[in-house]
Every structure is written in structure tokens, then in C-alpha cells.
């Protein structure tokens, strides 16, 4: 290939156009999707890749997909070698070739220009249900991928711009909410088509060679910056350990670890020696492990810069196959983010002491996803899936954030109470900061989690859930205390019966039962005794800590609080 040079102005304009394109894809998806998981929780992402499958732009969605696109598209390129034509669109949901779990449907469109592939557009979205053993497809006690629904590992859903009727029929017959699934599929296809149009405009205007070279330049310059940031850190190997609270099948603690090495301008995350894949579905496959590690590398080197493959070139992830972080077929991965978040946090914990300006103490970590299913007012089945927001850890100079979404998600909204009540046979009794559970004390304290109470108005309702950090608490830093746990409680019999759950596949609910989801507070940073008096006073005034706590934890002597 003859190289062309791209002047800096054109480079800047093309980069701006890439971002504008992935943003546009995101808007179309969020506004037209039919599953709450997508339109409200924004559990989807869109990206653009080079003809070799290297990510050049990604919308600002969630972190779970930080590294998955490249592996996924490369696997498809390998599979369809030379057998792609203009107007084809591919579909895959294979967790073991760069994917995540079967619920995530990836739609990939090769973008042709002058008869050759210029790049790929991708849209990955979490489907409300893809069949399998339970509504929503994510049995917290699944022991095999075959319980987790329909798998379509690399098929042409569209040929010559026409949908494959056979595939639509297969999907329609294998999922619980076919209208929603097919509606979302239509929306996904619309987004990759928009992307193809925009890329064609770009290549028409600037020339295809210039656009390809601009991709190369973008990746190279991100790589240079990434290497420079890593080179600035002290060489050495940094260790961290953690415990995952059960896998959904048993409650046994699972000990996990990492060794992160900084060597010049390279960073190596070594996950060797972690336990083999567990029976339950909190395993993640290698693609998700990549993503989990990259999330922290991005946080370390350039949190605000647009994401692309270049940032991750200095990173090497080492792990033997078949572990909890590198699961293989047929290990279940439905709740993979419950495992992959611990891979992220291990790297985070190992690096936090090195770069306090970029990190915080431990957070509530788990998305605390609860599924509520049953029949609505008209007897139709419904599933309500919702991750919960929680408390984040303190940093060196600021208290932790209250009630924001866990690391694995991102631009993820909580569900409006008024919207839930208009749609489902549910009444929300409270949505409040989890003051009672508290946070990790410290010179800077952790942020507060939430308490959300659902009263079930219908009969035959069932809940299931998989919450992490129910026993192993968010860690504190530099003498800060640990945070507080996550838990689901079922309150029945007018409050006389309270049962607590972490990961549970089937909780039958009666009319009038209250499902209380409690998320934990983050870890503290620094010695609580050094917390400034006015900050303790302010917390007392706002009812975030009691006077008793103020004196016991912070040595606060009551004076004039007002």
C-alpha cells in the first residue's frame, strides 16, 4: 500500500467525524429500542473499526465493551474470510470469541468503498430475553451455556440489504418477547447503516486512502500517549487480591489475584494462577477479561480521551485458559460482569497507591441486578431488569460519590419510579440513600449506596438476582475503613419476615411482598481521626451520620452543630 500523508487539519476533521458518527448511532439506538435494558440502562455500545478490525471510535456508553469489539470483529473476519459482500450484515452473540454473554447481540456491517472493505460498524446490545431456562435468560445458577439461550455465533442476518427470513424466524421462535427482540434488531441494523453512510461520505470527500491513513495516525498517536503515561510510572510488579462472594451455585468464597508489572512503557496484567472456571455463571471469557483490564488502563492513561485500540497496544494480559476469567465452552457466562468487575478491581487495587490522583478506594462493585417477572394488569407476562446504583470509594481529596452506577456500566440511568409504576404491577415504596448501612469512614469517607423498595401488586411474581460484595466489603485506602455490603431482602408478612439474598435463582413473591434492594457504601481514604470538623458537622446536619457515630468514629465532640 502506498502511504499518503494526512495534514493535521484533515486528521482533526476526520477524528471529529468519527466521534459524531458513533454518537449518532447511539442516539438512534437509545431512542428506538424496545427493551428497557437498552433505552433506559443504555446497555449497548456502538463503534467503528478499521478493515483489520481495530477499533477507531466508540460511543460513550458502558465500559463492559471497552475491549470486546476488536476481538469480536477479528473473529468474524476470520470466519467470513473473503465471503463478505456489500449489503451484508453479520450477527453474533458468541461469548467465547470476544463476546460477553449470549444476551449481547452484536450486529456488524462491513463498510465497502470502491469494492473494498474500508472498515466495520458494530452495535452490541443487551437483549431482554434470548430464550434459555429463565425469563431474561440469565439463570444465576446456570451450570452450562446451553441454559443461557439461543446462540448465533456468526451468521449473515442481512444479505444484499435483505433480512434473512429464516434467521428472523429462528429468533422469533426462540425468545420470550419476539416483538421486542425483532424491534431491537431493526434498530441495531438502522445504526450500522447510518454509520456506513457517514463513512462513505467521508471517503468520498477526502479520499479513501486519506481516511485509512487517518485511522493509522489516530491509533499510533494514542499508542504514543499511552506509552508515555505508562513510562512515567515506577517500574515494578504490583500485587492485589480479592474475594468473590459465591458463584450462584455455592456461596463458597472464590479467591482471585493479579500481578501488574510496569516495565518501561509496557504494562502486563498477569492473571495466572486464578481458580478454574466455576460451576455458576459469573465466569467471564477472555474477551471480557481484556475489556475489564483495558477499562482500568484507560482510567490510568487518559480517562477523558476518546477510546480506540491504540491506547491498549502497550498492554499485555496474561492468563491460562479455562480459569474463572478465561472460561471456555460450555462454562456459563450469563453473569460474566459479576466476575469481570473483580478482574478490573484487582488491577485498580494494584495501581491505586501508585497514582492516587486517578483512583479511588473500593466501591460497591456489583451491578446488583435484580429481575422481577410475573404477569401485568392484563395478564401479559413481563420482566423488569434493573441494575442498581451504589456508593463509590473516597479518593485522596474528596468523599466518594453517592449512588452512581458500578464500574462495568457507565452512562447508565436508573429507572424512573413514575415510569416503572406506569408500566409494571409494582409500587416503589422508597428510593433513598442507604444511610443506615453507612459507608467506609476516613479522612475522606466513602459515598452512600441506595435503598429501593418494590412492592409487588400482582400474583405469581418471581425475583432472581446475583449480587456481589455481600460479604467481602469495598476496600479502604491509606487507613480508611471498609465500606458496607450489598443485599436483597424480601420483607413479607407486614414486616415480620425478612429474608436476605445475594445470588439466588428463584425467589417466589406473594402479593404485598416488598423486595428491598440495598447497595453498599464505598471505602474510605485516610485516617478518620483526621477528618475536618466542619465536614463531620455537615454530615450530621444532613442526617448522613448520627451524632453518636460522629463521636465514636471521628472523635467529634458535640458543640454547636447548626
Amino acid at each position: 500500500m502506498t502511504t499518503v500523508s494526512v495534514d493535521p487539519v484533515t486528521q482533526e476533521i476526520i477524528e471529529g467525524k468519527l466521534i459524531a458518527t458513533v454518537d449518532e448511532m447511539g442516539i438512534v439506538m437509545a431512542r428506538t429500542s424496545m427493551s428497557p435494558v437498552i433505552y433506559e440502562v443504555l446497555d449497548f455500545a456502538c463503534g467503528l473499526l478499521t478493515s483489520e478490525g481495530e477499533l477507531v471510535a466508540q460511543m460513550n456508553g458502558i465500559t463492559l465493551f471497552t475491549g470486546t469489539f476488536g476481538t469480536q470483529v477479528k473473529a468474524l473476519i476470520e470466519r467470513f474470510k473473503g465471503n463478505l459482500a456489500d449489503g451484508d450484515i453479520l450477527l453474533t452473540n458468541d461469548p467465547y470469541s470476544g463476546g460477553t454473554h449470549a444476551c449481547d447481540f452484536a450486529i456488524v456491517k462491513p463498510i465497502f468503498f470502491d469494492g473494498a472493505i474500508l472498515g466495520y460498524a458494530i452495535n452490541v446490545a443487551h437483549y431482554l430475553d434470548v430464550g434459555g431456562s429463565v425469563p431474561g435468560s440469565l439463570a444465576p445458577n446456570a451450570v452450562s451455556v446451553f441454559q443461557e439461550g439461543l446462540r448465533l455465533p456468526g451468521v449473515k442476518i442481512v444479505r444484499s440489504d435483505v433480512f434473512s427470513d429464516e434467521l428472523l424466524h429462528i429468533i422469533g421462535e426462540n425468545v420470550r418477547f419476539p416483538e421486542i427482540a425483532l424491534g431491537d434488531l431493526t434498530a441495531q441494523v438502522a445504526t450500522v447503516r447510518v454509520a456506513a453512510r457517514r463513512m462513505t461520505e467521508l471517503a468520498t470527500k477526502y479520499g479513501e486512502k486519506i481516511v485509512r491513513q487517518a485511522f493509522v495516525n489516530l491509533l499510533d498517536s494514542s499508542e504514543r500517549q499511552s506509552r508515555a503515561a505508562i513510562a512515567a510510572l515506577p517500574d515494578g510488579t504490583y500485587h492485589a487480591e480479592d474475594v468473590i462472594d459465591g458463584d450462584g451455585v455455592t456461596e463458597d468464597p472464590i479467591r482471585v489475584k493479579v500481578a501488574v508489572t510496569i516495565a518501561g512503557d509496557r504494562i502486563i496484567a498477569d492473571f495466572s494462577g486464578n481458580p478454574p472456571a466455576v460451576a455458576g455463571p459469573i465466569n467471564c471469557a477472555r474477551g471480557a477479561l481484556q475489556s475489564a483490564t483495558r477499562t482500568i488502563v484507560k482510567a490510568l492513561v487518559a480517562p477523558q480521551a476518546p477510546s480506540n485500540e491504540g491506547w491498549f497496544r502497550p498492554l499485555e494480559v496474561v492468563a491460562e485458559p479455562g480459569t474463572i476469567f478465561t472460561a471456555e465452552k460450555p462454562s456459563p457466562t450469563g453473569w460474566y460482569y459479576e466476575g469481570s468487575v473483580h478482574a478490573s478491581e484487582l488491577v485498580w487495587k494494584a495501581l491505586a497507591p501508585l497514582v492516587p490522583s486517578r483512583f479511588s478506594a473500593g466501591s460497591y462493585s456489583s451491578l446488583c441486578v435484580v429481575y422481577l417477572s410475573g404477569k401485568d394488569h392484563s395478564g401479559e407476562p413481563f420482566v423488569h431488569i434493573e441494575p442498581q446504583h451504589g456508593g463509590w470509594g473516597a479518593s485522596e481529596d474528596r468523599d466518594g460519590a453517592n449512588a452512581v452506577i458500578a464500574l462495568t456500566d457507565g452512562d447508565t440511568y436508573n429507572y424512573s419510579v413514575e415510569a416503572i409504576e406506569a408500566r409494571f404491577p409494582i409500587i416503589v415504596r422508597q428510593y433513598a440513600l442507604n444511610v443506615e448501612g453507612g459507608v467506609g469512614a476516613g479522612r475522606r469517607r466513602g459515598g452512600f449506596g441506595v435503598v429501593r423498595d418494590y412492592e409487588i401488586l400482582g400474583d405469581d411474581a418471581v425475583a432472581y438476582c446475583s449480587l456481589g460484595r455481600t460479604k467481602t466489603l469495598p476496600w479502604g485506602m491509606n487507613g480508611g475503613a471498609e465500606g458496607s455490603p450489598n443485599v436483597v431482602q424480601i420483607i413479607s408478612d407486614g414486616g415480620n419476615s425478612v429474608r436476605s439474598y445475594g445470588r439466588n435463582p428463584h425467589i417466589p413473591l406473594n402479593r404485598g411482598d416488598v423486595v428491598r434492594i440495598v447497595t453498599g457504601g464505598g471505602g474510605g481514604w485516610g485516617d478518620p481521626a483526621q477528618r475536618e470538623r466542619h465536614l463531620v458537622e455537615d454530615d450530621v446536619l444532613k442526617g448522613l451520620i448520627s451524632k453518636e457515630e460522629a463521636s465514636r468514629v471521628y472523635g467529634f465532640v458535640p458543640g454547636s452543630v447548626e
Binding site: P8, E179, A187, T295, E418
Partner: protein, 685 residues
């Protein structure tokens, strides 16, 4: 018989007046007085009296736009505000939506709520999603709340109960009781400001409304008093964010509707220009000192943004508010935007701005970093000796020295570096203009591009060429266009509500009935009697069953399920590229736009006495057109002397007091009978 408008901006207070009888035009630009904006308004009036012979006594209409509301919010200078809400939900305001758009920032925080936790109170009551009371309102809980409000010297209280958009009874009772107990405190219930669902967004809306209400009340009182002292007594109107005006009293009830008052003036002006040149699709772009704002006028009416957020960026969630705001996309590219080379060696322009102090390097006030204005001066578009009508001398050598700081590292000549700065600002503006058109399903090729602001007309021709618009338009008074636009705005009110129903013949009838009811509310609002000439536009928000977000489609009395359904499918396809003809349709909301017909600024024909192309020619100036064309000699014309129907081939420059317009090679300038400048491509048929 003078109609007068003043627009208080961040730096300048602009004034435009127009005498309906004589056709005289009055203009002024004075410095904004930050502490009390009414002083700057009086200064501008005094200036226009002195300069153009404005007669305050003859003013029969006064429209006002300003930044009082937005400043109080962005500077956190509203009053101490409390919140009373449904038991169990006082933290909703603080939790917000909990999203973390700054994905990789492990120290991210949600924006601080405007009411601290100790001033957020709960009352026992509950209404369900259908409006049924499931727990009665217990007003006995108010006593300690009233006590606390006194103790903390609360000046405003916002009231929000869940589902008050369906049933506001509890809010009404509670607000009444609070007002009775605390007569000097402003009390504001959410249903008075928004009838839309989503508790966080509505809470935030009512809280911000309460937070600024006493501020705007005092401000209007001071302004009215000051105007009366100047013998300027007539109905006073405020420019609202929806592109219309309201009386001061109406605006005081719902001050949050003033949040984008100034920019909305520009949009109203662009709509008026569209009428004059016969264009119903208009793209407006206003290039200010720090930002550029663009907006689309569709079918002759400004489009509204249904999800407006204050302080929202790519990485900040911002504060959503449910008030009707013209859909404006704002980007950090203005005349003062600073060019720099980033850590990767790439040239960036904005969002950092030199503002008005120190301003661009060429202002000679100590700025030494290159800005967009310096680049425009360097390539020869601005005349350093005759800027701002000759009131300000620009220092070209300082501009060149500043540009050199980026030219050298890029290995470019000074003029190529200046061109590069312009191109990058230009690309940012194109992206924003495409966001409001192409990305929302509108074709810019069908639109006229109306460009205003100090630096706008210098960039206009190239933007128009790139977007391939029908015509590029430079309106009269482009440097004070928002104020001009306020004279084009009519009284307007928007009535929006949440209502769910499957689309059916019955639902269509019910829509019609509900719109009739809203029409009655509009008639009452304008208080001009049942025969008032009010123009209604009916819009229904609907979605395919299963979707969450709706699309607005126009509705007409007499619609059937089929006629409305067809319009909905078409709207959905335009916005999101596809339709699902087999899916059932659900209605989610109603929106009535009500505009009270009123006089708007006339655009009389300019006379051709003393005007001719020859008389308008001031001389020539060399302008740089990029490396392929190089420097070309352009004739320079005085806008005030160009005759109606003049047609001149580019390249050329047109100068006026507030700006300079550049017309490119292969373009033609046409002056309309009203003196509006139209730029078209020569080869266009």
C-alpha cells in the same frame, strides 16, 4: 410608535428599535452591567437616544432578553430553597439518574443538587400512576417543616409529589398550606411548571424554578421602575426560551422559561427572515465570542428540545429541566476561541476562549494566543482600520505573531495556519449544523442558512457551500441579531402533558377533546378574550408499542386513526430511518403550541436613492483563499449603500458596522428588496 428590544448578553447589552410609522431604526451596544443588568439597559437606551434620536416616550412595546436566570443558576446565586416531597423520596433530587458519562474517571461525582439534604423534607401521601390516592395527604407533617424553613431562612419552597402530572390535588393542597404558613416565601408546585412524568427531571425543574423566582421578580421590579423613570411606560415583554414572548408577570410565574432567552431571540429572528425570503426550512447559526449556536426552523417554526439539560456535556450529566426550550446545539467555537496544538501535535480550536478580556490578540489588550478572529483578520477578511464601524483599531501584527506560535510547529506559513484554524472551527460548526439537520432527518439542501454574530458572516459563504444549502443569508444587524429577533417574536405559550393510550379511534377523539381543553387554558393564559387570534399547533408524542422514547407528529382536529398513524410512521422514519408498520402505536403525550398573533418587525423595502453598486464600492482588499487559489483581490462594498436587487459576483467583501461578510469565488451576492444579503453558488441552476 416605536417597538424596542434589548438583549443583555455576557459582555454586551444590545438594543434595536424600530419606528413603525417612520421606518427609523435605532441601535446601540453598551457594556453589560453585571451587578444590576437594568443599568446596562438604561445605558443602551441613553446611547440610542443620543446617537439615533430614540424617543423613549414613543415606545409602545418593549421586549427584553437577558441572562439573569441562567447566571443565577450557573453562578449558584439563587435563593435558599427547600423541597417538600413524597415520603421515601427526598433523595431523588440528589441521586438523579446516577449515570456516569465520564466512563473512565474513577473519581466521578454526580452534579450537586440545588437543595441540600437537610432542606429536603418528606410528607406522608401517595398517588399512583393512574392518579388514584393510595395514601391520603397528611398535612400535620408540615408543622416541623415550616419550623425548619423559618430556622434556616428559606426563601423558596418547591413541592413535588409523585404522579402529580396525572393528579395535582395533593401538590395544590400542600402548596396552599405552605403559602399560608410562610407568607413571605415563594412556593412553587411541580405541576404548575411541568405536566410531564419522570420524578427526577420534574423535581429538578420545580426546584430550579423556585430557586430563581425571587431573583427574577426583584429584577423585573427594578427594571420596570427604571424604565418608568425614563418615561418608557408600555407593556413589557420577556423573551422566552421557546422562541416567543410573555408578559413580565407571566414570566415571573415560570422564570425557568427564560433560561435560554437570548439565543431564542436569534432563533425567532431567523424564523422572521425565513418568512421574508420565503423559506420555511431555516438553519440559524449565531457565532458569538465563545460559542456558536445553531438551531433548525422547520415548517416556519422553531423546533423544541424535549430533553433540555443545563450544564450538560459529553462527560457531565447536567441538570435536566422540563421547560420548552428551542432546540439549540451549542459548540465551543466562537470568534474568541483559542487555537492550540495539543499533546499529540494536532491543531485544536476552542472550547477555551479569550472572551472579551483579554480578547483576541488583535484587540491589543494583552491576549497573545491565536484566536479564530485573529485568523480571520490574518487572511484579510476584516479591515484592521475599520472594525466595528471604525470604533476599534485591530492590530494585525499582533494577530500574525499569535498565529505564528501554531504555524511554526505545524510547519505552515502564517496564512496557511490561519486558514487551518478557520477550517477546524468550520468543521466543528458543520458537525453541529448536521446534528440539527441530517442527524434528525432534515435535509440541509432544502434549507436557508441564516448566519449572525460578529464572526459569523465572515464564515457564512464557506459553511453554506459545504452544507450545500439553498441560500446563505446574512440578515440586517447581524451583530445584534438576537435583539432584532425579539422584535419578531410573538406571545407564545406551550402546554405539554403526559397521557398514555393505545392509538384507537376513541383515543383520537379523546386527543381532540384534550386539545380543546388545552386551547381553553391557552385562551385563559393570554387573557385577551375568547376571540383572541391565537394560532394553535397540535403535536402528539407517540411510539411503537414497547419503545420508551416517543416521536412527535403533528395532529389535527378531525384526524382519524389512519391519518394520524400515517403521519406518525413518517415522523418516525424521518427521525430514525425506519418504520414498523405492523407495530401498534401508543400515545404518550400532548403538546399544544399557542401563539397569539401580534405585530412583528416589518422589513420595509430599502430605497434606491443614494444607493448604487458603484457608490457602495469602498476599494479593494487581498484575501487569502487557501493554498490552491492563493491571495485574491476582492472588492469591498459598504452594505449601507448597496441598492436593492443588486447582483455581484464573488469574490468580494461587504462591510457594515458590526461585521464583514465574505463571498467566495464562484458565488453570487444578491441584495433583496429589503436589504437582506443572499449568497448562492454561481453554478446552481
Amino acid at each position: 410608535m416605536i417597538r424596542l428590544a434589548t438583549d443583555v448578553g455576557g459582555t454586551f447589552t444590545d438594543l434595536v428599535g424600530y419606528d413603525e410609522r417612520t421606518g427609523e431604526v435605532f441601535t446601540a451596544k453598551s457594556l453589560t452591567t453585571v451587578k444590576d443588568q437594568s443599568e446596562g439597559v438604561l445605558n443602551a437606551i441613553a446611547m440610542a437616544e443620543k446617537k439615533d434620536g430614540l424617543r423613549s416616550r414613543d415606545v409602545i412595546f418593549f421586549a427584553h432578553g437577558g441572562t439573569t436566570v441562567i447566571n443565577a443558576i450557573t453562578e449558584r446565586k439563587g435563593v435558599r430553597t427547600a423541597l417538600v416531597t413524597t415520603a421515601g423520596f427526598r433523595d431523588v433530587l440528589e441521586i438523579g439518574r446516577g449515570n456516569r458519562p465520564d466512563l473512565y474517571n474513577l473519581q466521578f461525582h454526580s452534579p450537586e443538587p440545588f437543595v441540600p439534604r437537610n432542606l429536603r423534607f418528606e410528607i406522608d401521601e401517595r398517588i399512583d400512576a393512574r392518579g388514584n390516592v393510595i395514601r391520603p395527604l397528611d398535612l400535620s407533617g408540615l408543622k416541623p417543616i415550616v419550623q425548619k424553613c423559618r430556622e434556616f431562612q428559606v426563601e423558596a419552597i418547591a413541592v413535588l409529589f409523585l404522579h402529580s402530572y396525572v393528579n395535582p390535588d395533593h401538590e395544590i393542597q400542600c402548596a396552599r398550606a405552605l403559602a399560608a404558613a410562610l407568607p413571605h416565601v415563594t412556593v412553587c408546585a411541580s405541576h404548575e411548571v411541568s405536566r410531564q412524568w419522570r420524578e427526577y427531571e420534574r423535581t429538578n425543574t420545580v426546584v430550579l424554578n423556585a430557586y430563581v423566582q425571587p431573583i427574577i421578580q426583584h429584577y423585573f421590579a427594578r427594571l420596570e421602575e427604571a424604565l418608568a423613570r425614563q418615561d418608557l411606560t408600555c407593556p413589557y415583554y420577556a423573551m422566552q426560551s421557546n422562541g416567543g414572548i410573555s408578559t413580565f408577570d407571566q414570566a415571573t410565574q415560570s422564570p425557568l422559561t427564560l433560561v435560554e432567552s437570548g439565543p431564542a431571540g436569534g432563533v425567532a429572528g431567523a424564523a422572521r427572515i425565513g418568512q421574508v425570503i420565503g423559506a420555511t426550512e431555516v438553519l440559524s447559526l449565531d457565532v458569538g465570542g465563545t460559542t456558536a449556536k445553531c438551531s433548525l426552523i422547520h415548517e416556519g417554526r422553531p423546533t423544541l428540545n424535549s430533553e433540555y439539560k443545563l450544564e450538560h456535556t459529553r462527560i457531565e450529566p447536567g441538570y435536566p429541566v422540563q421547560v420548552p426550550v428551542v432546540d439549540i446545539v451549542e459548540i465551543g467555537s466562537g470568534g474568541g476561541s483559542i487555537a492550540r496544538i495539543d499533546e499529540r501535535g494536532v491543531l485544536k480550536v476552542g472550547p477555551e476562549s479569550a472572551g472579551s478580556e483579554p480578547g483576541p490578540a488583535c484587540y491589543g489588550r494583552g491576549g497573545d494566543r491565536p484566536t479564530l478572529s485573529d485568523a480571520i483578520l490574518t487572511i484579510g477578511v476584516f479591515d484592521p482600520a475599520n472594525f466595528a464601524g471604525g470604533t476599534m483599531q485591530l492590530d494585525k501584527s499582533k494577530a500574525i505573531a499569535a498565529i505564528e506560535t501554531v504555524a511554526k510547529p505545524l510547519g505552515l506559513s502564517v496564512e496557511d495556519a490561519a486558514m487551518a484554524i478557520i477550517e477546524i472551527a468550520h468543521a466543528n460548526m458543520i458537525n453541529a449544523l448536521k446534528l440539527v439537520t441530517v442527524q434528525r432527518g432534515h435535509d440541509p439542501r432544502e434549507a436557508a442558512l441564516v448566519i449572525s454574530g460578529g464572526a459569523g458572516p465572515a464564515l457564512a459563504a464557506r459553511l453554506g457551500r459545504d452544507l450545500n444549502v439553498k441560500t446563505t443569508v446574512v440578515p440586517p444587524h447581524p451583530g445584534i441579531f438576537s435583539a432584532w429577533g425579539m422584535l419578531a417574536a410573538e406571545p407564545r405559550a406551550d402546554f405539554r402533558g403526559t397521557w398514555f393510550a393505545a392509538l384507537s379511534p376513541d383515543a383520537v377523539e379523546e386527543l381532540s377533546r384534550r386539545f380543546r381543553q388545552l386551547e381553553q387554558e391557552a385562551v385563559a393564559y393570554f387573557a385577551k378574550g375568547a376571540d383572541a387570534d391565537i394560532r394553535f399547533t397540535y403535536r402528539v408524542e407517540a411510539r411503537y408499542k414497547g419503545q420508551e422514547h416517543g416521536v412527535f407528529a403533528t395532529f389535527q382536529h378531525g384526524d382519524t386513526q389512519e391519518t394520524f398513524g400515517d403521519r406518525f410512521h413518517a415522523s418516525h422514519e424521518r427521525a430514525y430511518t425506519f418504520r414498523l408498520p405492523a407495530s401498534p402505536i401508543e400515545i404518550t403525550g400532548l403538546h399544544l403550541e399557542a401563539v397569539l398573533s401580534g405585530p412583528v418587525i416589518a422589513m420595509p423595502r430599502i430605497s434606491d436613492e443614494d444607493r448604487s453598486v458603484d457608490a457602495a464600492l469602498r476599494g479593494n482588499r487581498d484575501v487569502y483563499f487557501g493554498s490552491s487559489l492563493g491571495w485574491l483581490t476582492c472588492p469591498v462594498y459598504d452594505r449601507g449603500k448597496l441598492p436593492p436587487a443588486a447582483v455581484i459576483e464573488g469574490p468580494l467583501l461587504v462591510e457594515e458596522a458590526t461585521t464583514t461578510t465574505l463571498i467566495l469565488e464562484r458565488q453570487v451576492l444578491e441584495v433583496t428588496a429589503e436589504g437582506v444579503l443572499l449568497i448562492r453558488e454561481q453554478t446552481a441552476s
